[in-house]
Symmetry: C2
Subunit: 448 residues, 2 copies
């Protein structure tokens, strides 16, 4: 929705042109309506919500912000709530409940039937970020003995209540997944054909406890529209559809960006977050890294004699620190991203080490050569200092690249998030090593 | 495909158990077969390629690496090539041609009919990373006067050659897009109903020249399965499907990770890239930033007197530089990511500035307080130095956060990629400012 339309709608709301508004809304996409209503106060939201056609109202509800969902659940009658819950897809219901205060969760459970309550409780137990936590139970279930005609009749009858009808799942009486059949193959086949003959039985599936990031990588690799989720007994428990995966992929990348910038990851949007929340997510790592950097300061203090004998050495500290940090940051970023997309795994460790080793030699020598010429002819600091700085540079780049390449793999092995082994932490480590190296080389070469 | 299966297949190939291999392959997913074959030499690839059922062969072909596609196109007969080109989806064909040496492109054009040649040339002209460059022309086209029965018959006849049959496009005789109808609504409606009454006419579409990143954001926002692409005269020219968008989203995020780590972005996979290519992508920015850091060194040289009068000051240089860099990096990362996902736009500049300003005060004061206590009671460097370092810290954090928050927005306004305004560049800028501040405060407070 463009801004002009947005303001036009707001104007209608302010001027209470409800009939016109109602007509406009019924033509709009549910995501846009939710976006519009998220900017309104609670009473107006409720007023407009009640104005929407019932089907559309539930679709809009599914796209509300958690705060708006809570206020609607709080305000509506039990009967209205039951209507919403009946129509809401199960995965959207679980998403909503996860974000909701306890009193409203109780209101929801009170308005669900016992069977649904049991399912909700089961779904809430799946770990955050697991396949189970993002799957839905509204899929089309077929039987392998059905004909295409029977299957199509079944889809016609139940299709509107399913999250997707485009991939259908064939199970036996014990809910073991036997095959997958696409609606494309149903609509391009003859009516008398058997599902058994159309279904794909080499099925790619995930487990309820699989990590959502690896599920996202499967979607990207195979281009699937939906993936079946099975439990530990291989029974079909739900499906994950691509639209939920689009959110997961975006969210996982955002989390990695945040972790790599020494931020506590959050799903809250920047513009919607309070200053205190944003500050709270930034300060802990800044403090840790600040304390960490004092080690580097300690190294400088220890070598104060060296620095005061050859004052020119101090001027190269920032360049050495930055270049070491940048070199390590390049390597760690590539490895962290490769681990996230599934391109690199822990078993590639020797390949990574060997690659980074060779790259670091090339990079180190080129950077040091440029630096040497600059030291000699532009800075004119003399041969001894130029050599000291350049030798340090070669080794700093080499160490930085090897540390930057290996630490994310080590983190992965230790089941930590590799993204924390990024720029800021690598820089702190590399700084300390670089300066120790620098002063050691200086002591040796300058006879201090 | 798991590793065990992978090695089993390789064993069959080595032992020339071709019948068994053929049976196994015909059951496998095309992505897995392509992955397997990408690890084989050219002759074996061709041998197995010719062994595959014709439909599967083309699907596998579409997933080959560019090198493998080239070698197949080079090796097959003109007749085989025509078969491949006839079956290949148009977007896959364009992707392939874009990566191919000129002699093979000629072989392909020679084996296409004049109409196809014209289309290929038209598609090759769309800018890289534009909607036009990733769209396909194989969509289901319906007429609003059709009944559901007629539409289903049309889909049954043509559906197997379309990239998707799940979203169908209704156009008038001038190819102007009039509506969209989903296969779900067709299969859940009665046969006599008119397409006109089922179709959605409030259509969200993109233009051929729109950036692929913004197209990706539309998919994520609305959860679409496909989006229509229109030209400047609003004629439907193609569609983009979600599986291609999954690749775009991953690739755009990877490019941002790379740019933010001062790497030249590339689509090449890390493990497949040569050491020289990887080095080539790293060295230019390292050199630029190394030269940039000498400005900071120059500032130190200029204030050598201050440093030699109070030697203790040197030890805090790394901590000030790192904290400034980290603070700026946090802000720039959040803004760069917000711009990439479409959450933040240039018009939010004042909101960002005001937010970062307040956050920077909170962060700066907390960090400086901790630092002051540490300076006084652990480092015991005396009140004057402690105050100097702490005051510098407050202002360094404030400047870093404001610069880090604003530069990506400035880059966006200048139509540069905001991702270059990330950690490394911000650090270099903030370092210079922080040290100037440090020595100025020191000169004033310590009466130097």
């Amino acid at each position: 929705m463009n801004e002009l339309k947005f303001f036009e709608m707001l104007k209608m709301i302010n001027e209470k042109q409800y009939q016109k508004l109602k007509n406009e809304l019924s033509e709009m996409n549910e995501v846009d309506i939710a976006e519009l209503m998220d900017s309104l106060d609670q009473n107006t939201t409720l007023l407009i919500f009640r104005m929407l056609p019932k089907d559309l109202a539930v679709e809009v509800f599914a796209h509300f912000s958690p705060e708006h969902q809570s206020s609607i659940v709080n305000a509506v009658t039990d009967k209205e709530l039951t209507n919403i819950l009946d129509e809401l897809y199960f995965d959207d219901m679980i998403d909503m409940i996860e974000e909701m205060p306890a009193n409203l969760v109780n209101k929801i459970l009170k308005n669900s039937n016992p069977e649904e309550r049991k399912l909700i409780n089961q779904f809430l137990k799946y770990p955050v970020d697991s396949a189970g936590s993002i799957m839905t139970i509204e899929y089309v279930n077929l039987n392998k003995d059905m004909t295409v005609k029977q299957a199509m009749a079944h889809i016609k009858e139940t299709g509107l209540n399913k999250e997707t009808v485009y991939t259908c799942y064939v199970t036996n009486k014990n809910w073991i997944l036997e095959g997958i059949v696409t609606l494309r193959s149903l609509v391009t086949s003859e009516e008398y054909m058997k599902i058994e003959d159309l279904m794909e039985d080499d099925i790619i599936y995930v487990n309820t406890h699989d990590d959502q990031e690896s599920v996202g990588n499967l979607f990207t690799k195979y281009g699937f529209m939906a993936l079946p989720v099975v439990d530990n007994e291989n029974r079909l428990t739900g499906i994950i559809t691509f639209d939920d995966i689009l959110d997961v992929i975006e969210q996982e990348a955002t989390e990695d960006f945040q972790r790599m910038a020494a931020l506590a990851p959050t799903e809250e949007r920047y513009l919607d977050s309070s200053v205190f929340l944003l500050a709270k997510h930034r300060i802990p790592w800044l403090l840790i890294l600040m304390i960490g950097a004092t080690i580097t300061g300690g190294i400088i203090s220890k070598f104060e004699d060296v620095l005061s004998s050859v004052v020119a050495l101090t001027a190269f500290i920032p360049m050495l620190m930055d270049t070491g940090g940048n070199s390590g940051n390049q390597s760690s970023t590539l490895i962290i991203r490769g681990l996230a997309t599934g391109e690199i795994t822990f078993k590639d460790k020797w390949k990574v080490l060997w690659k980074e080793f060779r790259i670091s030699i090339i990079s180190g020598i080129i950077l040091a050569s440029v630096n040497f010429l600059k030291n000699m002819f532009i800075d004119q600091v003399g041969l001894a200092v130029s050599i000291t700085v350049s030798i340090t540079l070669v080794f700093a780049v080499m160490l930085a690249k090897i540390i930057g390449g290996m630490l994310p793999l080590v983190a992965k092995k230790l089941k930590l998030d590799p993204a924390i082994m990024a720029g800021p932490l690598i820089t702190t480590i590399v700084d300390a090593i670089t300066l120790t190296l620098y002063f050691t080389v200086a002591t040796l070469l300058l006879n201090l």
